[in-house]
């Protein structure tokens, strides 16, 4: 069929220029995944029919690592000679976005190669600080041919995305040799949660114009400690497979100034209670972060606090989902009073923060506004967690006989 023919031609072009691309087409990977055992075990096995590349679709999607992309001009010229028409989508380099005063390079984010009725979508992945791969959004510029391909049907490019560096496997499917992610099903799962948010560098710069950054040694020191604590926490939780996101002041710091707020005294993370694991406490202790206090219980208002280097502490708040909102709880140790912090529902996106790929609520503005009110842009140095948040609600008192369980201080 045309599809298989075009893919074959493209793979030929790729190998003649030794450009190591890999298949990330969700449709084909879905089909491949069903037969993955068989495909893995017969690396050269002849397949009688065109089972994968002939599936009905308009595109086939491949990924390319920027690092391995060398001779673009020659490559595109050969592509033209082979009859491909191509479109290249460039945009500014997000790795330099945080630096207001640098300019120079736009980088290629997407290529589309069209031959007859089929098109190849080549997504360029970039390595970024935090040991992950990033691909950019696909945005057409004024002069571009909007009808080149049905752009809306592309599987990549609606949003930027963040991925782990995949392990690759060379397989032979439909008589074509092609690299695929070693574990297609986990790649497909990753793909559905890959949306990436860039930090709002421009707004952060405007913020620092208004409120110059604290460059004191104390601030530098705190930031260093907070960063290393966050790195350690991420390592520990990722190892356990516990999904977490930046919450409270840490989230505000990311959203408002793309950095740790120097006068905050801790690092705050959020975790859905459904992701809670009993191993969390021992894992942190093993990582050198002893438990400082535990408030609440799994069924209600759970909150863990770990002691980091010096006085920096790590707070993990557990979030409870209701029909129309999400909340987490707080407890005052001396009185047993309970508090409840309400948030509108949110989903999770990836972002980069202090050289780490981490989650933040995609609907960050609503999240931050719920927590800090409409004046979240104004730095506040005195903060009372029981009264300052605009989403705090009084939530009764723990029964005295439960205190030993729900108020544990070390």
């Amino acid at each position: 069929t045309v599809k298989q023919h075009v893919v074959r031609k493209f793979l030929g072009l790729i190998s003649s220029h030794s450009v190591p691309v890999y298949l990330i087409d969700p449709l084909i990977l879905g089909l491949v995944d069903k037969d993955i055992e068989q495909i893995r075990s017969s690396p050269d096995g002849p397949s009688p029919e065109c089972k994968y590349f002939c599936a009905p679709r308009d595109f086939t999607t491949f990924a390319l690592l920027d690092k391995t992309w060398k001779h673009e001009v020659a490559f595109l010229r050969t592509a033209e000679k082979m009859g491909f028409r191509w479109l290249k989508i460039m945009n500014k380099d997000p790795r330099l976005d945080g630096m207001d005063d640098l300019s120079g390079i736009e980088i290629p984010l997407h290529y589309i190669f069209k031959l007859a009725s089929h098109a190849i979508h080549l997504v360029v992945f970039y390595e970024r600080s935090g040991n992950y791969l990033w691909h950019g959004p696909l945005r057409l510029k004024q002069h571009m041919d909007r009808k080149f391909v049905p752009f809306r049907k592309l599987h990549f490019g609606r949003h930027p995305g963040a991925y782990e560096k995949p392990e690759l496997l060379l397989v032979s499917i439909d008589d074509l040799k092609v690299q695929i992610p070693k574990n297609p099903s986990s790649f497909l799962k990753e793909m559905s949660y890959s949306r990436f948010l860039e930090c709002r560098y421009r707004e952060a710069r405007a913020f620092f114009q208004l409120y110059p950054d604290d460059a004191s040694l104390d601030a530098v020191d705190f930031r260093r400690k907070a960063k290393s604590l966050l790195h350690l926490a991420a390592l520990t939780l990722n190892k356990l497979g516990v999904k977490f996101w930046l919450s409270s002041g840490t989230c505000l710091g990311w959203y408002r100034q793309c950095n740790v707020i120097p006068h905050s005294k801790d690092v705050d993370l959020g975790v859905f209670i459904r992701d809670y694991k009993a191993d969390i406490i021992p894992a942190f202790q093993k990582a050198g972060l002893p438990l400082k206090h535990k408030f609440g219980k799994v069924e209600d208002s759970l909150e863990l606090s770990f002691q980091g280097e010096d006085d920096v502490k790590l707070d993990i708040f557990f979030f409870y989902e209701e029909n129309d909102h999400i909340w987490n709880g707080g407890t005052q140790a001396k009185s047993g009073k309970k508090f409840k912090y309400l948030f509108p529902k949110f989903t999770l996106c990836w972002t980069e923060f202090v050289e780490l790929k981490v989650h933040v609520p995609c609907e960050t503005l609503q999240y931050v506004e719920a927590n800090y009110g409409p004046d979240w842009k104004v730095p506040v140095k005195t903060w009372d967690w029981k009264s300052s948040p605009s989403n705090v609600q009084y939530n009764g008192v723990w029964p005295v006989d439960e205190w030993d369980d729900v108020i544990q201080i070390y």
Partner: protein, 659 residues
């Protein structure tokens, strides 16, 4: 998926609310009446506008017709009547050149391409090179030929300009005092009749084609020593040639396309733009076996010295083991020509908006460049930092490849540097030898990412602090007692003589005689002995083996060191405490090595070569190696000179700085 637009420019919500508001207004009677009124007025207005437009259009059509018929009938007339040089088919350029004591300017077709009336700068001969086909400015230089050697630089430059280019000369203030005959002859060969007789405070302008016709020359003689010649203004016309005539016909390859783009834009790079035998722009040096620095990013810090950058990148790309993909050139400012140079070599370049002034500007540029480097290469553990005025040794990467593991493993190290502050022609000998030093030489060095990210970046001096980045890095708060590894013979060579803290005299005194390794693939010896503890063992071994020199002799004299080769000698100087460098500074001065501040020391010990012998200097009693001094030997004390002499010895105020 369906609501997604690749370019989300439309905001549907707004539209809807506008519609609702409109509907609501309609229901209101008063609003309806008002709307009718507004509508009537609008209609009237539109009618008027349409009518006016109609009238205008008719007139214009008539005018155009007239012109067209004129064209048809009289071609000659056309050339005179309409603007003489239609933009898209320019044949003749108007050139205006002005020369005077306090101001020079050059205008090409009414556009000022040079204007300098600043006080106390821009003295000498200004040269502008135009493309003979397009009229674009390809190079702009000023040679202060009032001062020595600048005429040689001008000759060099003029020789590099391709035949056929248009050259424009004008003098500001004074341009003849050190304009030697060689230079005058070159100007004469370009067709100048005045150049051979140019003298003190004459004003002069000249426009000519290299290897071709002269378009004009004007000269005003200075009537007396104390006065200047009258200002001269030369107005002339230059006939442009076709683009084909102005270009070379190199084979059509990707490399030559880069070359063509470069050569049609800028001038003064010599054989790279030669039609017959262009010098290569791709070098393909031998790869290094087991190259440990192949994936280390290289940041080239540049300003607006494109010729320096050109020379620097040539040497860098010729070094064995270079990986062009890892190189990024950071240009401080939106200068075009340095970017052209970067693109000529197919490298990537990033421009940086200048922040702050002078040294602080350099410092902010460094910070931005280093941050960007680690952002662009997030996997990198190190970055190589180079500057645009360095030559890079052929074994630069080999040197780093053999030593980089030390920087990774030994936490007492601050950097690896390719530069030995004390490595002069007469004091450096062994290309395979490395030292540990307590100073941070810079000039081609390796920075550990963790050092930058965890320590330096967060507290880097802010723009309002007018600090030198390297001085700041040398401060104890930053260095924290850590050391750098350097080679005995430098792997970089500092050729820049025009710089922020640099001038010709200073360069000649402190940099020109620096030794630079030219041997490929040098196998470094005892790399492992450079580790913290191993190095102490090594030093003790050396001192144990060293022969104590005769301390009754004058250490400045050649005879202080016997006429031997390959031996190890030691001398002891007075050094009361750790910061007492009185005697060392005097010794450094008489040995003609770096004496402007203390460099190259390790725990009160300096290592260099004299007459091909390893020569150790130990400061007693501050150095822990003082115990090696025989009790019979009295450490040599050298008195600092009287005050004013000390001042005279330092030529530039900020001279101790190397950027």
């Amino acid at each position: 998926m369906d609501e997604w637009k690749p370019n989300p420019a439309v905001k549907p919500h707004k539209k809807r609310s506008w519609y609702l508001a409109w509907k609501y207004k309609l229901m209101n009677q008063r609003a309806l009446r008002k709307l009718c009124q507004t509508g009537a007025v609008l209609f009237l207005l539109v009618t008027v506008i349409v009518n006016i437009k109609l009238i205008l259009d008719t007139r214009r059509a008539a005018y155009e017709e007239e012109e067209e018929s004129a064209q048809d009938y009289d071609d000659e007339m056309l050339n005179v009547e309409v603007p003489r040089h239609p933009v898209n088919n320019k044949k003749v350029l108007d050139v205006e050149v002005y020369s005077s004591r306090s101001k020079v300017y050059v205008a090409v077709d009414g556009t000022t391409v040079l204007e300098d009336e600043a006080r106390e700068q821009g003295r000498g001969i200004h040269v502008i090179v135009l493309n003979q086909a397009t009229g674009h400015v390809m190079a702009k230089r000023v040679f202060d030929t009032y001062s020595p050697h600048e005429d040689e630089a001008m000759v060099l430059f003029l020789n590099m300009v391709a035949r056929g280019r248009i050259l424009i000369f004008t003098i500001k203030d004074e341009g003849s005092f050190h304009l030697k005959d060689t230079a005058k002859n070159v100007l004469k060969s370009l067709g100048s009749q005045v150049a051979p007789f140019l003298s003190w405070r004459d004003m002069w302008t000249f426009v000519g084609k290299k290897g071709g016709e002269v378009y004009g020359e004007k000269h005003a003689k200075s009537p007396a020593l104390s006065t200047w010649g009258d200002p001269v203004l030369l107005k002339t016309e230059v006939h442009l040639t076709s683009v084909e005539d102005a270009e070379c016909h190199w084979p059509d390859t990707e490399l030559n396309r880069r070359r063509k783009r470069f050569c049609s834009k800028v001038e003064g790079y010599g054989s790279v733009c030669s039609c017959k035998d262009p010098t290569p722009i791709e070098f393909n040096p031998d790869p290094l076996k087991d190259n440990k620095v192949f994936d280390v990013p290289v940041a080239v810090i540049a300003g607006n010295r494109p010729n320096y950058l050109y020379r620097m990148l040539r040497s860098l790309l010729s070094a064995q083991g270079v990986n062009p993909q890892m190189i990024t050139v950071f240009i401080d400012g939106y200068y075009e020509e340095p970017m052209d140079v970067v693109e000529l070599f197919g490298l990537s370049g990033i421009q940086h908006t200048p922040i702050s002034i002078k040294n602080a500007r350099v410092s902010q540029h460094y910070k931005a460049s280093l941050t960007a480097t680690f952002n662009l290469f997030p996997d990198a553990k190190f970055a190589v930092v180079l500057e645009e005025d360095l030559d890079i040794s052929v074994d630069f990467f080999s040197f780093l490849s053999q030593s980089i593991h030390l920087l990774e493993e030994d936490e007492s190290l601050y950097c690896i540097s390719a530069w030995n502050d004390q490595g002069y022609e007469h004091t450096a000998e062994d290309p395979s030898l490395l030292y540990r030093v307590e100073t941070m030489p810079g000039l081609g060095w390796v920075l550990r990412k963790s050092l930058y990210k965890d320590e330096l970046e967060p507290k880097w001096p802010t723009p309002e602090k007018l600090w030198d980045w390297d001085m700041w890095m040398r401060m104890p708060e930053q260095r924290k007692g850590r050391e750098c590894i350097i080679p005995d013979i430098s792997r970089s060579y500092h050729f820049g003589i025009v710089g922020l803290n640099m001038n010709g005299y200073f360069h000649e005194a402190y940099f020109k005689k620096h030794k630079f390794n030219t041997i490929p693939n040098v196998q470094l010896k005892n790399v492992e002995s450079l580790r913290k503890d191993a190095y102490e063992t090594e030093i003790h071994r050396l001192l144990g083996e060293a022969e104590v020199l005769d301390h009754s002799k004058n250490p400045c004299e050649d005879s202080f060191v016997p006429d031997t080769e390959g031996k190890v000698y030691v001398m002891f100087i007075k050094m009361e405490q750790e910061a007492d460098f009185t005697t060392w500074t005097q010794l450094a001065k008489c040995l003609h090595i770096w004496d402007l501040d203390v460099r190259g020391n390790h725990k009160g010990l300096w290592r260099l070569f004299r007459k091909k012998n390893h020569f150790l200097v130990v400061g007693v009693p501050a150095s822990p190696y003082s115990s090696k001094k025989p009790s019979s030997v009295t450490p040599i004390y050298m008195e600092p000179p009287a005050k004013e002499e000390g001042v005279a010895a330092v030529p530039a105020v900020a001279a101790a700085e190397q950027t």
